[in-house]
Symmetry: D3
Subunit: 295 residues, 6 copies
């Protein structure tokens, strides 16, 4: 156990970081293991509360795929996916919204409050925060052509009205956003949480976008956990995709980072959510725990 | 169809009411038929939007019993009731919260937005709005004694932190509140929507509390719809209960009104939610459509 | 008499208009019959009070020719006119100012207050609101040439300092402006109320300019009251003047509209002030009661 | 002519007075010679402008009896008086209002503007500034009894709503108020300018009330101009009236001072308006030029 | 060296303290070893900067006795003391002021700035912050009586005008105050830094007063460093003085604490300034490093 | 002695100047005789207080060479100069800072307060107001070449952070600035007061820069005091230097004016500080008492 002097030293070490990020907005895409494991969950949300107290403005955008799947099972409904996207009929949409807004979001809000923060949960419908339009799924036909298919209430954000989030931040709350959006005609859409976090970061003129994942970050050699690329630039991204170093589910995450950087966000991070306090270590120490994507 | 002159006349007639309620807060407990019937729903929410535009601050608190029951059925769970209160085990609580916060609340928010207002949905957990403690159910034993039984996550509001609602009002949104609260230890509670509306009205220093019901109001003779008591006073309430004129489910509603009046709310109203635009008629014309309870 | 349901319906019908004009400034040139007939007067001013309560910012600019003529007669002074403009010697100017500022303006202020609004009367001298310079009259000589003649204290507005009007609006009052201005050297000028309303609308960045007249609007055939042109564009104006459809006293009114549109006012209206609540019908319903001039 | 050093000295001498009255409100009842003589008029209004620039808040309340009489003559109407009060029928009231609001007030506003200040003229009707009720005239019957007679539109101020004056002050203007008030039923009243100044001083929490007169102040011996009482206290007033030292038209003026002092005004002054810059000398030097009435 | 996880843990441990003191003002009397030893100095001021960044409002009041003595020696002036107070003639006062305001204060300001804070140095003369009156020295005569002697420019604070300190805090600076005050007649006074810190804490409605000393705190047995009294109450103070446990130079320090507590400060602390980061340990951990005096 | 009427006249004469400079910032470089002679000192500072009360924002920047020399003598240290700049070793710097910040500055603050103003003393270190870098001295070698020599802690201002001065002005205080600055590495620098005043005037967007000197201004013929050049332009400066009319110590002062004018200051003035109230005469009358340098 560190001595009091060591404790003091660590707090003092954090000072330059506290100073650097004072008054800055940080959007955290929260999901995966860090949302399921109770201890990790508490660690991430404690990091957010700490950030708030030292003058930063954390904004949490969460996912909830496994919880949705679980609830669908409960009501006897099977999920099918097209190109990684859940086919979302009206009933699935209703369940998804209930789970994201009525369960996952409120659990996060409740835990932040019990840690000593003060959170306000929002969906993309509140204050017209996220306006989306229908997104088509893509399938390969037998002859290899790409075909668009209707996958229901899956949307892509077209407009962000960040007023309510800014209000909530200014009044001292931590906003927690569920990725459910509204269409122009009032219909509901499930939107991808990573990309919701990205467009929100741009609209809020955030300084940082942090995406929590269940991997170490981007590895130069996927079999060697010591080959972590701690920083990559926008320019390097296409080459890394070509060489298969960025692949699979990591591609859309990196693309969210790229879009956020192009929209004015200063730095973006893909962190290992399985490491406790990975957000805090990223923000308050000089030891990064994942891959930073910068301009 | 009224002539243009008549139209003008009606708008002008509304002026003294608009003036009278300018800047005043009105809490509307919204439930029953008015929430199920699509046309009535649109009418109530349109009234709220209109109130907002003419300078009032409507706040909507909704229930959702039938929707909860429906969802419980879907997942194969039966509801049991003790003294009118749903026995709420952990799973029921989770479903109830999902339905209230993730479905009913968002439907209302979405409809207000599509009418031209701008709503923000909140639960009692957001910003620690409603803090509750466990409430016991009451049963009669065979020998007629009253006995308290544990009915799970049913709570009574003990503290209201109206900050987030005031913020949302001040920024021009219509707050829509789901009656889910948090206990001191972070546990979830289902709270009665009528009484949540009542305590919120007091905490917001509201001018009016309106409870929408599925009856005409309080009838002197329950078989005569023309025997509506259009105004009753606090003092008359006990006598009316003794004489059975206020009875059954109307008793707790009237008690909410009484508590709100004692807490400083100017007037309280039990309106017939089955009449389209009953809120608007109450507020903007001299024709009341239910029973007003006053000091 | 409309039923309560019809009443509610009419209020609800007004909602989109209320929403559309929320926070917008509307300058109303008030004169003619609408200022003389007591019932019409009350109707116009009630419309303004209603507009104020539903979030609009009405500004009234009034004339007062007949009252000036009356007062001049009382003191035994005859009025002479050159090209439609009153020859205004020093004594006439003094009388005109007394009547406009000390009688007509205060009557309007008093009536607005008694209806339930809160008005503040201003002249162009207060806060240097309207700064004017001398305007010459035009006469035709015998040989048909146009000659300029001195007609005294008749002025044309050269500068508008809208500060005091904005202050009065922001504090919740309805400003009522008398068309008397000051010259650079401190001399008084009588200015045309239509054009004062026009330049004020531009300076206030008003959304609408409404000119009340004693005719139906612009008629395609002056003998057919059903031939009303409900909308004309800037471009059509010269042609309509050439063809004599816009003629006489209507020409300068339309020119005020044209100038206001060019200065940034969104829409301008020439309404029939003899119709009760014509302003309200124009603003809150889809039934126009005159001619709208637009870009 | 003073040397530059002497000039500097005089400015410096003013410093403690400037400091003392910084941010304070001073109500000046302006009338008599100071309003008729052009040079005196310019001197008084220049004093007010100077006061404004050095951080004080001058408010001018003016009379206008001689101008009203003149105008009444012009229209062939004789004035009759009861107990010093003008019998004011409806026509007289109309003329009085026109003269006070439309002529005298605007002349003052115009002159302040031309000196380099920025004035806004108001009547008691604007923003409901002065609400009055009917005042009866008093006559002695033959047997010496006092009898009340109806003298028409003569009023006494019963309520002051100083909002509009405070707004105008805060925005940097000098308010100029004409003593015309409105009754509860919307009727017009002529009110005494001295007492209007007094009640306004109380409502504005003014520091000073200055009443300009056409005499030196209160003289211990009316035949000796060197017998000026430079300061008297509230307590001395009744004795001075008993001994006839305060008499005639001076009595109501002193009573206004007494009422203002009782309402919280710090000091009240009866100054000789025939001395140029008497206001400035009173406020900025240690040489008073009249009688100060204090608690 | 602590691992990253341990680092994170320590930051998280600080959270409840950060939360508890958010927005609170803490006055730190800074002197003794902590001001002379360069490393200790940096540690104390770093603590203050850290406090500022996490939302607290530290205010530093410093002494400077040794530096004054050093400068006096340099100019060949001996210091004499009466009852622990320096006899302060005019020349000594001038030197003391120069050293405190022109050297010690600016060194502290400079070091805070170089650490990354933003400090503004003030003396008690700036903005009339500290107004003092002459304080007499006390000597014992031969027969044991107490006699008052004039010891020159030694003062006691009689009035605090905290406006400038509040302004400086609100604008984000750390105020650093030198204990030099001004008398009513403009004369200079040297005031005791402990008591200046105490009265300032009261005037600023501070939450905490921290006095840095060169001892461990109050020891129950002065020969046993493990006998530290970590908390004492107001009521216990007189008994502790009687029993000699609080004695010598500690008495006035404890009296400052007592006065501050009576003036509304929540807690007061006598800390060991020789321990690096003793302020930070006191504020951000549960390990106190001195004696806390509470109500 | 001027009569009351003359006094009034002089105050009125000042009105256009008060109006002209209302809300404007004036930086006054204060030094020389005006700082040593007690009466002159009081006159200058009274002028500043008067300016503050009539709505201007005076900022005082002072020197203190003679006082520094005096103190150095006291501690037995000789001053040496290179090209007019004092060679400033570490000990000299410490003494200079003590004298400027701890003595001269506080004397000015104390005197302003005793006159009735409210001053706050600042050095260039407070709030990082003045950031400087080392400046080399210039000497002529035997062969006439210019050589740079290290003269210690003599600096040139490279950055101005006027935040703290603006704060202090806005809160109603008169800022008094000592010309001591900080280097990037935290080292102290003595900076020239004239040029500190100049760069501060630019950073504050001042309207006027006034430099008090011990001469009449710029004389066309130095032997004829009546040959004062009351206004010169930027363009004329090089010619006047070439012709030797501007020479010696006047050159850097004029260069400060030139730099200030180029930085946006409207007018700059070199005034005779030996004339009492020269600042006031310059600002409030049409009689200049020195040389104005304009664009």
């Amino acid at each position: 156990m560190p001595s009091p002097m060591e404790k003091a030293g660590i707090l003092v070490e954090a000072l330059p970081y506290i100073k650097k990020f004072y008054g800055k907005t940080v959007v955290i895409k929260y999901g995966g293991h860090a949302m399921i494991n109770c201890e990790l969950k508490k660690a991430v949300l404690t990091d957010a509360v700490l950030m708030k107290y030292v003058g930063m403005h954390p904004v949490i955008v969460h996912g909830g795929g496994p919880e949705i799947t679980g609830m669908l099972k409960k009501v006897g409904k099977e999920s099918s996916f097209v190109g990684g996207l859940r086919v979302t009929d009206a009933e699935t949409m209703e369940i998804a919204q209930m789970v994201l807004v009525g369960k996952v979001n409120k659990d996060i809000v409740g835990m932040i409050n019990s840690i000593g923060g003060n959170a306000v949960g929002l969906s993309g419908k509140d204050g017209n925060l996220l306006v989306a339009e229908k997104k088509m799924g893509k399938v390969r036909t037998r002859d290899g052509a790409e075909e668009l298919v209707d996958i229901g209430h899956v949307g892509e954000v077209r407009q962000v009205n960040p007023g309510i989030v800014n209000t909530v931040i200014r009044e001292g709350y931590i906003p927690v956003v569920a990725p459910v959006a509204e269409g122009e005609a009032g219909e509901s859409y499930n939107v991808n949480a990573d990309s919701a976090a990205g467009v929100l970061a741009v609209a809020l003129r955030a300084d940082k976008l942090i995406i929590l994942t269940d991997v170490e970050g981007i590895l130069a050699d996927r079999n060697d956990k010591n080959s972590l690329l701690s920083t990559i630039t926008l320019e390097e991204v296409p080459g890394l995709i070509d060489r298969g170093i960025i692949d699979g589910g990591m591609i859309p995450k990196v693309e969210c980072c790229v879009a956020a950087l192009r929209g004015g966000v200063s730095t973006t991070h893909i962190l290992d959510g399985r490491v406790p306090h990975s957000v805090l270590l990223e923000v308050f120490t000089d030891r990064g725990v994942g891959t930073m994507v910068v301009k």
